[in-house]
C-alpha cells in the first residue's frame, strides 16, 4: 500500500472500514479494502467503472453485506455490516447520480421527504415541511421557491435540493455520486462552494467520480481503487489529473498533440454566417477531408445546437451550409444522413443507443437499407456487417445478440460510432464522445477517431473538456455565448493557456 497516509494529527476517523471483501458469483468485487474518512473531510473516491467504488458505497449504506471479518466503524460504533435503516439513522446519506428526486412534487416535499414516510397515514404538516426546507436551503446559502414543483428547476438546482435533503436527514457523511457530470462550470463552482460550507460545519463529503479535475481542488484526500483493490490513499496536494489517471488505470498515457496539417485537402463542409438567434450567431468555418475540427466551450455555449443544425434537427435562421461545394438545406435529419452527415449524440444512454436491444440491432439501425435484400432485412448480411465493424473498432463483445446494456461505456460508445460509420458518412460529428466512458477507455475512442481521420473522414469533435480537443483535434474552435470567439492550432499554444481562456 504505497502512499498510505496516517490519519492527520491523530484525528479519529468518522468512518473507518477494515478488511472489506465482497464476491459476486465467484468474481471478487472487493479485496481486503480499507477506507477512512475524517470528520469534515472532503474526500475523493476514485476508480474506473468496475473498480469497486459503487460496491463499496453500497456496503457502507447497507445495501450489500460484506463477507465475514469486515469491520465498519462509524461515529464511535462498530458494525460487522450496515443496514439501510441503521446507515440512514446514524447519519450516512448518499446523493445518487440520478438524484432519486420527485419532479412533480414541490421543492419542500422533496427536501423533507423523510417526514412523509411511515407505514400508517398521518396528516401532512405542510407548514413544518416548508420551514424545514427553507432552513436546510439557508444552511447552503440558497433560496428557492419551496412551493414550486421541482420540475421547474434545472439540474443544478435539483442537485442542491438533493443535498438539502441529505442535510434534513442529519447527515454526518454525504456521498456524492458523479455530482458534476451534468453541471456547467459556474454551477460546479457553486456546488463546490456548498461543499465547503458543509465541510466547515463538520459534515464529511465523499466525491465518487471519474471526472476529478473540479473536485480535486477542494478535497484534501484521495482514495483510489482499481479492480476491487485499494491502490492507496493520497493527499491531494500536488496531485495532478494525469497522475490520478495513472493510479486508476495502472497505465501511463503519453498525451501528445495529434494535430496534423491537412490544409491541402479538399473542403468537405463549409459553413458561413450560420445564425439561430438565442443559440448561436454568425458561425463560419470549414472542415476538410481527413481533418478533425475540435469545438470546445462551456456547457450552453451553443455547441450542441450548432451540431444539431448541421444535422438537420434544428433549422438555422440564416447562413449557408455547403457540403462538398454544394449548398444543402436539410428538412430533417433523414436528409442529413442521406447527404452523408452522421451525428453521435451527447446523450448516449437515452438518445444514442436503444439500451434493451441487441448490439447487432443497435449497430445497423441507421443503415438498414444496406442489409436489406429485395425489401426484407437479411440476417446474414446483418451478421456480416456487424462482425466486420466489431472487428474494425476492436469492440469486446460476447455475442452479437447480447443487449447493448451489457457492454461497458467505452464499448457502447464504439458501437454507437460504428452505427454511424455504417452509414458511410463524409462528415462525422462527435458530441461529447467520452461522457460516461472510463479514462482508460477514452484513449481507445480517440485512437479510433484518429484512424478514421486518416481514412479521409471529416470529423467535428465537440467536447467541454479542453484537453480532449487539444490533444486530438487538428484545429480547435472556441465557442462562447453562441459565437466562435477564437480559433487556434494546438501546436501553437500551450494547453494551460487555452484552458485559462475557455474556463475563464
Amino acid at each position: 500500500m504505497t502512499g498510505r497516509e496516517s490519519a492527520k494529527g491523530g484525528q479519529k476517523p468518522l468512518l473507518s472500514l477494515r478488511n472489506i471483501n465482497m464476491t459476486f458469483g465467484g468474481v471478487k468485487a472487493l479485496k481486503h479494502v480499507s477506507f477512512d474518512v475524517l470528520p469534515g473531510d472532503v474526500h475523493c473516491l476514485a476508480g474506473e467503472n468496475g473498480s469497486g467504488k459503487s460496491t463499496l458505497i453500497k456496503i457502507i449504506t447497507g445495501v450489500y453485506r460484506p463477507q465475514d471479518g469486515a469491520v465498519i466503524e462509524f461515529d464511535g460504533q462498530t458494525y460487522s455490516h450496515m443496514s439501510p435503516v441503521t446507515a440512514q439513522n446514524s447519519g450516512i446519506q448518499v446523493i445518487w447520480q440520478d438524484l432519486a428526486l420527485f419532479p412533480e412534487m414541490t421543492v419542500a416535499e422533496n427536501i423533507t421527504f423523510q417526514t412523509l414516510l411511515g407505514r400508517w397515514p398521518r396528516f401532512v404538516n405542510y407548514n413544518g415541511m416548508r420551514e424545514k426546507a427553507v432552513k436546510a436551503l439557508a444552511r447552503l446559502g440558497v433560496t428557492l421557491d419551496v412551493d414550486r414543483p421541482l420540475k421547474d428547476y434545472a439540474i443544478a438546482q435539483r442537485q442542491i435540493v438533493a443535498i438539502a435533503r441529505a442535510l434534513v436527514g442529519e447527515a454526518k457523511l454525504v456521498f456524492m455520486d458523479e455530482p458534476t457530470a451534468s453541471l456547467t462550470q459556474s454551477e460546479t463552482d457553486r456546488l463546490l462552494d456548498i461543499v465547503r460550507t458543509l465541510s466547515a460545519s463538520g459534515v464529511a463529503v465523499v466525491f465518487v467520480s471519474h471526472r476529478l479535475a473540479e473536485v480535486l481542488e477542494i478535497s484534501s484526500r484521495l482514495t483510489v481503487l482499481r479492480d476491487g483493490a485499494l491502490v492507496g490513499v493520497y493527499s491531494t496536494e500536488g496531485m495532478t489529473q494525469s497522475r490520478i489517471t495513472e493510479l486508476m488505470t495502472g497505465k501511463t498515457f503519453d498525451q501528445t498533440v495529434r494535430a496534423r496539417d491537412v490544409s491541402a485537402n479538399p473542403v468537405v463542409l463549409e459553413v458561413e454566417g450560420l445564425c439561430r438567434p438565442g443559440q448561436f450567431v454568425d458561425i463560419s468555418f470549414t472542415v476538410r477531408r481527413g481533418e478533425t475540427l475540435g469545438i470546445t466551450g462551456l456547457l450552453g455555449a451553443g455547441r450542441t445546437e450548432l451540431a444539431l443544425s448541421l444535422f438537420g434537427m434544428l433549422k438555422p435562421w440564416s447562413g449557408t451550409v455547403k457540403l462538398e461545394g454544394k449548398p444543402v438545406h436539410f428538412a430533417s435529419n433523414r436528409d442529413a444522413i442521406a447527404a452523408g452527415i452522421a451525428y453521435l449524440s451527447e446523450d448516449r444512454l437515452s438518445l444514442g443507443l436503444i439500451q434493451p436491444q441487441s448490439i447487432a440491432d443497435n449497430l445497423v439501425i441507421a443503415s438498414l437499407d444496406k442489409i436489406a435484400a429485395s425489401g426484407l432485412l437479411s440476417d446474414g448480411r446483418k451478421r456480416d456487417l456487424v462482425a466486420q465493424w466489431i472487428a474494425d473498432l476492436g469492440v469486446k463483445v460476447g455475442k452479437q445478440e447480447d443487449a447493448i446494456s451489457t457492454l461497458s461505456g467505452g464499448n457502447q460508445q464504439r458501437i454507437a460510432i460504428a452505427k454511424w460509420l455504417a452509414t458511410d458518412p463524409k462528415l462525422l460529428i462527435l458530441d461529447a464522445p467520452t461522457v460516461g466512458v472510463d479514462v482508460g477507455a477514452r484513449a481507445g475512442i480517440f485512437d479510433i477517431v484518429a484512424k478514421l481521420a486518416q481514412t479521409g473522414l471529416a470529423i467535428i469533435l465537440i467536447s467541454d473538456e479542453v484537453p480532449e480537443v487539444y490533444f486530438n483535434a487538428d484545429r480547435v474552435l472556441h465557442m462562447a455565448k453562441g459565437r466562435v470567439v477564437n480559433q487556434f492550432l494546438p501546436a501553437d499554444r500551450s494547453l494551460a493557456e487555452i484552458e485559462a481562456a475557455v474556463y475563464a
Partner: protein
C-alpha cells in the same frame, strides 16, 4: 394570481373551456343557462365523478384500470342479491357491502399487478373480461328490477323553486359524490400515504430507495378505486332504480378520458381532484348542451371526442404560449 394560474394551468384551461362552451350553449338553447339545469347536471354526473376520483388515485400511482366500471356492475348485482337475501338492509349496510366488494375486486387487480408483475393495463383488461364474463354468464343478462324500497326511492336533500322558474334539487348521489371528492382530496393531498402514492407514481425507483412499500402502494391505489367503484355502482343502481348487468359497460373509457382531460398523467405522479371533477363536468356539460340543442345523440361521441382532443392540446401547450400576458415569467431550464 399569476402563480396560482401557473401551478393550476390545467384546471384553469378547463375552466376557460367550460366557460366558453357554456356561453355558446346558452345562446343556442334558452334552457341551458338556468340553475335548474346546473343542478340537473350535478345530479347526473355524480356517479361519473365518484368513479373519476377513484381512477385518479390509480393514475397518480402510475397505474391504469380498465376493469372498474364492470367491477361496479358486479358489485351492484351481488349487492342487490345479498341485500335481497338479507331481507332489505339500508343505506349503511348497502354502502358497506358495496364498498367491501369493490375493495375486494380492486385488491384482485393489485394482487395480479404486484405479485406477477403484470403491467396494470394488461392485468385490468384481463379482469375486465373476467368480471364481465362471469357477470353475464351467471346472470344470463337478466336485470334486477325488484330492489329494496330504500334503494329505489329518490332522496331529495334540498329543493327550491328559483326566481327564474326553474326547480333546483340536490339529491343523495350529490351528497355521496361530495363526500367521495372531499375524502379523496384529503387522502391524496393531506396524508403521508397519499403523498407516498404521488412519489411512487412520479419516480418508483426513488420511492423504493426510500423504503416505501411498493406492494402496499398498489393495494391502496387499487383498493381506493375499488371502494369508489363499489360506492359508485350502488349509487348508479339507486339513480337508475334498476340493476342492468351491462349498464356500466363502456363507462370506463368515458371516465378515463375525463380524468386524463383533467390533467392526470398516464404514467403517474400527476393529477388533481379539482381537474378531475372539471374534466367530468366538461364532458357532461357538452353532452347536456348538445342534448338541449336537439343535436342527434349519434353525433355526441364525435363531438365529445373532438373536445377531448382540443382540451388536451390546450392543456399540453403551456399556458404561457396561449396567453401573452403570462409570458414574462423568469425563464427556467
Amino acid at each position: 394570481m399569476r402563480k396560482v394560474v401557473q401551478s393550476h394551468a390545467t384546471e384553469f384551461a378547463l375552466f376557460v373551456v367550460i366557460a366558453i362552451i357554456s356561453i355558446v350553449l346558452s345562446f343556442i338553447t334558452d334552457r341551458f343557462f338556468s340553475l335548474g339545469n346546473a343542478f340537473d347536471l350535478l345530479n347526473t354526473s355524480s356517479v361519473n365523478i365518484i368513479f373519476a376520483v377513484g381512477l385518479l388515485v390509480v393514475l397518480i400511482a402510475g397505474g391504469i384500470d380498465i376493469s372498474f366500471a364492470v367491477a361496479a356492475s358486479v358489485v351492484q348485482y351481488v349487492a342487490a342479491l345479498v341485500l335481497g337475501w338479507m331481507g332489505g338492509g339500508g343505506w349503511i349496510s348497502g354502502l358497506l357491502i358495496a364498498g367491501a366488494l369493490g375493495v375486494l375486486l380492486g385488491a384482485i387487480n393489485a394482487f395480479l399487478i404486484h405479485k406477477f408483475r403484470i403491467i396494470s393495463i394488461v392485468a385490468t383488461i384481463a379482469t375486465f373480461n373476467i368480471y364481465f364474463g362471469l357477470l353475464m354468464f351467471f346472470t344470463r343478462g337478466v336485470s334486477i328490477y325488484n330492489l329494496p324500497d330504500w334503494l329505489t326511492s329518490r332522496v331529495v336533500l334540498f329543493e327550491r323553486e328559483m326566481a327564474d322558474g326553474s326547480w333546483i334539487e340536490v339529491t343523495l348521489p350529490v351528497l355521496v359524490m361530495l363526500i367521495c371528492v372531499v375524502a379523496t382530496w384529503v387522502f391524496i393531498t393531506r396524508t403521508t400515504t397519499g403523498r407516498q402514492l404521488y412519489a411512487f407514481g412520479d419516480n418508483p425507483e426513488g420511492a423504493r430507495r426510500f423504503g416505501i412499500n411498493i406492494g402496499a402502494m398498489q393495494f391502496i391505489a387499487f383498493g381506493w378505486l375499488g371502494l369508489m367503484a363499489g360506492i359508485g355502482g350502488l349509487i348508479q343502481a339507486h339513480y337508475a332504480q334498476e340493476v342492468v348487468p351491462n349498464a356500466l359497460y363502456g363507462r370506463e373509457l368515458d371516465v378515463l378520458a375525463a380524468v386524463v382531460l383533467g390533467g392526470a398523467r398516464l404514467g403517474g405522479g400527476k393529477g388533481s381532484v379539482l381537474g378531475c371533477v372539471l374534466g367530468v363536468l366538461l364532458i357532461s356539460i357538452t353532452q347536456n348542451g348538445l342534448n338541449l340543442a336537439g343535436v342527434s345523440p349519434y353525433a355526441f361521441k364525435m363531438i365529445v371526442g373532438a373536445i377531448i382532443l382540443v382540451a388536451i392540446t390546450l392543456s399540453n401547450t403551456s399556458i404561457e404560449k396561449l396567453l401573452p400576458f403570462m409570458r414574462q415569467v423568469e425563464g427556467r431550464k
